[in-house]
Symmetry: C2
Subunit: 198 residues, 2 copies
DNA sequence: GTCTATATGGCGATAGAC
DNA sequence: GTCTATCGCCATATAGAC
């Protein structure tokens, strides 16, 4: 059945995100998927290959949703605002996604160039062009576009990597944390925008 | 000899940072340290214990250097500037430190509260107090201090977690990357300060 | 403190019957 | 496509001689 493949993917995704790739065994994946161990290899050949399949799925999914915002032809202020909102909303659903992506990249640095899903995450060209154009037209302050793009994603993504730390330090419940990230949407876009304003 | 313990620590630290804790075996550590495998357990009882020893060392070291800047009584503008410079300089030396800390925290979320070295990293109280005082005195814009602190460390730390991505995307050599991070010092502090300025 | 030898179990992957 | 059985290897940790 086709269901088997899906069951393996679903189980492995949850375990990889939760415990980290190297702390999950193939037997554990098969058990959670309620599938015979051999079927894992029948469908995915190896654990490594299963990992990259899942990595691609997760990353393409997320990248698509945010990328088109940055590539639209909305005014820059609007764009930054929309981007922060969409990205933070996406990650409130799956906060561990950021740590997962970072860990896989750090785990296989030599494969990054060939993983176009990973490169698709870092999609600055059009946005950087727009920053230059707007600066030349005198509508925003001239800044290093690459630095600004990195700052934008840093402000959005990093707080998710230290979720546990933030919650413990401030005695946040899950709801408190979500509220904090909701408030972050305007914090991020107004910080970026106050920097660009003339 | 006391040297043995140090050799194990040095070898394990390098391997943990480079390959990730779960992709390094104890035999590999012993081999790199040129030490008999059993001595690892003689000195550190278990791999887990060795990990936490190293984590504590690395984190206390880094936290100390930056913490006192945030807790000095310099004016806020100066403080932010000094903090960005010191923190980025520290991490240019060991860029993988950030990913390492994130991965260990994510690996053992339940132990965070007891690891005061980890909590020492997140040291916002005095800085946040100062932000409130300055805002009341009308010298800076009133902002959510906790959000601002998170933004400050996000701008500094996140770029190190995606070092490989930044280098590949922009075809940076190691020197280019360092230059980029050097330029980042002023980028970060001027972004934060433009946000706080009245 | 340092060594050799080994216990004990988990890992990823595959062969081959059905 | 799905199963059982198993290979071969590596992991962490320890016992006990010196």
């Amino acid at each position: 059945m086709k269901k088997t493949k899906q069951k393996i993917l679903a189980a492995a995704t949850e375990l990889f995100l939760d415990k980290g790739v190297d702390r999950v065994g193939v037997r554990e994946i098969a058990a959670k998927a309620e599938v015979n161990l051999s079927l894992m290899n029948y469908y995915f050949q190896s654990k490594e290959n299963l990992l990259f399949t899942i990595f691609d799925m997760l990353v393409k999914d997320g990248a698509l949703q945010t990328r088109e915002i940055l590539e639209s032809n909305a005014p820059i202020e609007q764009k930054i605002n929309d981007y922060a909102i969409a990205y933070i909303d996406l990650l409130i659903e799956k906060p561990v996604l950021v740590s997962f992506v970072i860990s896989v990249i750090h785990r296989n640095p030599e494969k990054i160039k060939t993983m176009d899903s990973a490169m698709g995450l870092y999609n600055s060209e059009i946005f950087c062009e727009q920053l230059k154009t707007e600066a030349q037209a005198g509508r925003i302050k001239p800044v290093d576009p690459e630095q600004l793009f990195i700052s934008l994603i840093s402000l959005i993504l990093f707080p998710f990597t230290i979720r546990d730390l933030i919650m413990d330090k401030n005695s946040f419940s899950s709801k408190d944390y979500i509220k904090f990230m909701e408030e972050r949407k305007t914090h991020v876009s107004s910080m970026i925008y106050s920097f660009l304003k003339i």
